[in-house]
Symmetry: D3
Subunit: 324 residues, 6 copies
């Protein structure tokens, strides 16, 4: 631990509404070098098949994240004391060229990974997770705990299009980025295209927890199973804000009623404790459809929850490394 | 089952935001002839004593219903394969003449009933349910399972006015359209005009389940009782969107805090399985007071839940008829 | 009980949207003389360190309170038959001079207390509770049951500023207005400035119930403890609308996700039965950040819940006084 | 002039956002007795054939009118020094019975007229002007200067309905309330139902000034003609807020692009100087469709402009009476 | 003229808010066969480099177009009596594949052109005009009168991307679809990327009328010049809604203050009289950024203005053909 | 001129919605050293007597300013080539201590002035202009061209409060910061507190141009007079966004209908050419009351207009200095 770690601006001296907004009011860094955890945006929604707008997500999550303070009130974690964290800005994207955008995003995340920092991304639509995984899973497939209303394991769109925000995890499995037996999807719900829509995913070994099962069993039980599934291998966390109920997260492209409360979502995320997180994201925050910044605030708070988990992991790793 | 049943437009080929909006992206039919289930709007709110706007409900429910897909993710029901369903447009109404409007609505629903189709209506304010019942209950009183924050069994308004959205079920009982011993009202809450406001309803035999009892007992228990009350006789389902909490359904005229979550509402509706549904409605969606289409989306999703139940019932009836 | 008590305008004769809005559609009184309970606004938010707007709270709570009816549907309480209640308008404030505003508010509440009426205040930001307590606790410290996302027991701001909406209860304890051993804070959550942020409060004897404990134990258990803590001494009730989840109460300055549902909030407030209430408030309703009047409606309904409790207490006191 | 005239609350002592909102922050009077000018609302929109909501107009116009100050910055008129003015609340209406509502409104205005006060009404939809005219024109037809996007002289609706917000002035002429040769309509525009839609009105002698003619000739020229047409006979002023462009007055039921700017509207109203005004109204402010209170603010400001004109007329009449 | 031409639903019998929304409440046709004028949507915004959302344009323009009536109040034109007009739905698009989308759009418009109908398109972003021109200008370059805040003649984006909503008219000229000497752009304004940003366009022969020149010279003068430039050759009209001021058309992706009023825009469009219109569009209506449907209403009204012009042209052509 | 001047991020490479928002997408500088022009925010509204919210102005103006490009389309000015410009963040303020806030703001601006940079401030409420003037006018009174709906020369508030957003210019004259004979106020309108409200200002020598005079005479004439009044002495430009009509700038605390169009505002500002500008501000942008970012966009565009003027002045000064 070092007092020279980047620290958020003190809201007891500078009001929260003052100054350009960065994630958690952290300093802007030009790269992930010298960081343990890199926060960045991926302002891109070119994989969206219905209501676009997630390209504006990073800026508004930054804006609402200025409400975050420095300490987690339950765990007592002080992430900015445990790890070197900064906002490294937004990755380079291309709003009108899908394949170029995927390449740019992958390159951006790779530079974070190469620098030795854990990437915490703010989307962007869910297709952005695919290039993130390409960068994160370079040395082999990872596991994933995935909070979402949708499985996002569809195959083709409009005949032959491989890449949309409904297909990233089929592609990720096909590309060997995810180990499907170490993938859990939680919160899935809403009408589907066909009774066998999730058959492929299940055949691969993905564990799908529908909302109804969550309601029956509760967060602790579900997350115990989830942690068992991913084990102690490297695991990616993907949080699609549409897992939360549209009344609490209206600013998203594909809302489905009957979702998690934010309280449940926080409980779920806190139960990730012990999972070896190699990267995480909060995606599908779409400000043009948001109300009063509510969805961006939920996204920012979940980002803070994830950050606390990763910061503790960083500190523990450093400490155990130091002990050796 | 037939492949020639009307089918929704495929959103894998035509994006959901494309084209004029119909209920569930179904074809528009000019009448209920040849249909098993007729979806229609009743764009009228002339019985509203406080905040009007439900006249705009059908159009926005259509709009949000374009997010629905073809299959229920829990029951696996594919309604458009089980039954002939179409959008038959909106019934004729009269925005400035209450009695004429009631007569037009009754006539419109009667033509659906006469054609042998089950009417699924989208209001409009709750007074529209009265003429629907006049058409549905022509051969004798029906039962009703009624989700609402309000009992809607008041008597007179402004001295001598019989017809408002607070009185339909008193009128329906007086007219012999409802068998009060087969009526259950669920979700009732909010301040009332007098301690005995519900005395008349209870005296008639109506079972009122206040929100507090629901919270204590849960959906399964309450719905088991509700199903027992209506038995296997013909039953109408009326879903006033204000039974849902105003945070999830702000677009309504008489909001009362402390309502159902959409998740609870879905659970309740799914527990209607086995009830013999002769008609159903979703009412009081008021777009001018809505936020981000949230209430219309809730209404559209509940409509889809109801549709699935009725479609299965249609298929079972057909199948059992065929077996005979 | 008297038929000459002030009564709300009858919405069966005058629609709820008609006429200038007063709290609960009650008559406007020029003072608290002749009243048992005085409803008033404190349109001031000069203690707000982030997003202002609570100065507009009283007017919008009045507006939404026109939806309230005369009788509580669970307890059957008819407050306007049990007690003399009126809207005495807004207290005098000063939008640009903090100390002058605090003095004016204290004077305003003192005149209510001196008149023998119970003050029910609608803020305004939470700093307004400090001068209210100065008036209410003139003869000695009172207990407090406090619903909030935040403890509001911080010390200084911007170096040496004593008075903000984050500090009222530290000041109240320092000034001997609150007996910290008779203070319970319920619903506390959200990131904090330091791990020991609540240490001072706890050291004083304040009982802090974090949201997580509430979720584990439930309303009945928590409120049984709260009632035991305050005992039968004089107790103030402070309801910061940000204790409610931001999806249900977005119109507030410092939203924290994961809050109470309005249903839970109603349950908590109803469990205040038996507490000896010497004053109460609903604060931090900020209309510029509200959506569809949702927060003001929640505030107005909680105000009605509190009013019912106090009215019964008034009637019981009168009755027991009469019996003597 | 008298210092005992009712005066608005001083915003240098009580902030504008404080207290229940009345028109111009004037005292509430229980009747028009002792008044020269009575401000009142008519919260009714039962004649609306498309988007309702004007029933909520009076409350929001009151709300925005709290921004008005005491003196006109161009004419220097101080209306509250020249005349006895108060807010007498809203007239009695009936939201679900059109004919009863018209009768109640007429009775309400009649009591104002009988008391000798000039009625300044805030609607409500434009059908409310018909019963106002029935009260104002009891001793003979009056002239009218009418600002509107629509002529509102249609005949029947839905076959045989005589009374909608599209028909008031045909009815008023048929009933002998308006002298059509002393009627000018200014700002008419938007697509029409048939080329001869305005033929009846023109045949009666009404002068219709289309928006295009206004653009060509300008406010001074048009208003000179308007003043010549009405001459020095008793004249009613009806200001439908939809004469203003929908960007400046979006909160209305039948918007038509290409309307007056508020600046033009103010210029037009100021050029009413010298007209003998026997009553006036501002109608069709529909808050559910409004944005940021913009339409209500425009309506409140036009109401203030009209009030200034009438107050001067009152003072001049009194003065000339005193001189005799 | 024939009474059998498709007619809008009569709003004297069916309220405007009733029924699924089509353009101008016209019947839906399955193709342009048998039509003189085809109204259709192009729900696509894949060329948008900043704020997307125009994909939702057609549905909301349909929605607001239900406010249109049958006759132009200035010209007296009754388009539905002069020409066979219908809504043929939305063209097929592809939300995630730019080149496929362009091909689909071109094919869709070609089928309209081949059927002999004049295409009136509602975008969609401005890149959609490129494939429309490919269909319309098959037999040779056309002229264009183009209302816009931006010239849309940029070259490359992100290095080497040819197709964005900032480049359609450079591409159209390069492809020989537009005769640059017969192109006028009116309303251009806003900060630019470089002093020579418009040099290429001017070098080609395009006449750019900046907003400042319009303010100086006025609509009549500018349009006289515009008509002279396009002469009597075939001319396309492209109306980007961002030519209108953002206060009147906020729902667009690239707002620039200081734009046309809707009144000016109507005047400009009416002055197209005499131009030989071979197709027209209204583009860049972006509902997620719109307020109260204001932009969609402006778009719908301009569409009606264009429709009237084309309908008269159709009638005149038919009449002159018949005369021969 | 130097290629090493700070340049905005290129939106042809990084989309405008990407990255943390700074003014004009310029680099953030830690101080005004090495700058010719310093852009900064003053996030403070403690002088606001009615609707607060301008504290949030700088962040939203930054957000909307990302739509600005690098070159003025009329003058051809490229400010970032002519001068060294950067965003130096927000000045230090104190949300709850008025006098401390004024001192902090003055100190912040003084450091800019001392560094030799021209301050371009974004408020904040209009009281922030007082401490700016204290810093700018240290060596003697300056002139001022002031665009506003209000004169802001009131004296006391709530009895004895000297400092509100209605009093800055009386204080500035009393303190010798402004030379009243070199002060012009343009756009003044709206109801006033008393007929002599502006008498003090006029007595001091201030020239007040009411909106009505502007309408009569036009921008060129008015600005010729304004330029003559301020002459070639040092002049401050203060642009209160409420000078613009509330339909175009709804996000402000004290809206007055009948304001400037943005087109007129741009014309007025461009006619400042030749004035010797020693500082400028855009104030009273209040995002909580804004719609779709419209007011912040207007503010950002006016800021760009002012920046262009100052940048040319900087270049001319440098050039003439170099020539010497």
């Amino acid at each position: 631990m070092s007092t020279s770690f980047p620290q958020p601006i003190d809201s007891g001296l500078v009001p929260r509404f003052a100054g350009p907004a960065t994630f958690m009011r952290l300093p802007l860094a030009t790269s992930a070098a010298e960081l343990d955890i890199a926060l960045f945006g991926i302002p891109w929604d070119g994989g969206t098949t219905n209501r676009a707008g997630a390209r504006h997500g990073p800026r508004e999550v930054r804006n609402q994240s200025t409400l975050m303070r420095s300490t987690h009130h339950v765990s007592g974690i002080e992430p900015f004391k445990l790890a070197r964290v900064a906002d490294i800005g937004d990755l380079s994207v291309n709003p009108i060229d899908l394949l170029d955008a995927l390449a740019r995003i992958e390159a951006g995340v790779r530079s974070v990974v190469v620098a030795g920092a854990v990437p915490l991304a703010v989307g962007g639509d869910h297709l952005t997770t695919l290039p993130v995984l390409r960068a994160v899973a370079r040395s082999g497939p990872v596991g994933m705990i995935h909070f979402d209303a949708h499985s996002d394991t569809n195959d083709l769109y409009f005949g032959d299009n491989l890449y949309t925000h409904g297909t990233p995890f089929r592609r990720a499995i096909e590309e060997g980025l995810l180990d499907p037996h170490r993938v859990v999807q939680i919160g899935i719900r809403g009408s589907i295209y066909a009774p066998d829509e999730h058959a492929w995913a299940k055949d691969q070994g993905i564990r799908i927890v529908y909302m109804e099962e969550f309601v029956r069993r509760g967060a602790s039980d579900i997350m115990a199973e989830a942690r068992a599934i991913v084990g102690d291998g490297p695991t990616y966390i993907s949080f699609d804000v549409d897992c939360i109920d549209p009344s609490m997260a209206p600013g998203t492209g594909t809302p489905e009623i009957g979702g998690f409360t934010t309280r449940e979502a926080q409980a779920l995320v806190r139960l990730l404790e012990g999972v070896r997180i190699v990267g995480a994201d909060v995606v599908e925050v779409s400000p043009p459809f948001d109300l009063a910044g509510m969805t961006a605030l939920a996204g920012a708070t979940i980002l803070f929850e994830l950050l606390c988990l990763v910061a503790r992991q960083v500190a523990e790793t450093r400490s155990s490394a130091g002990a050796r």
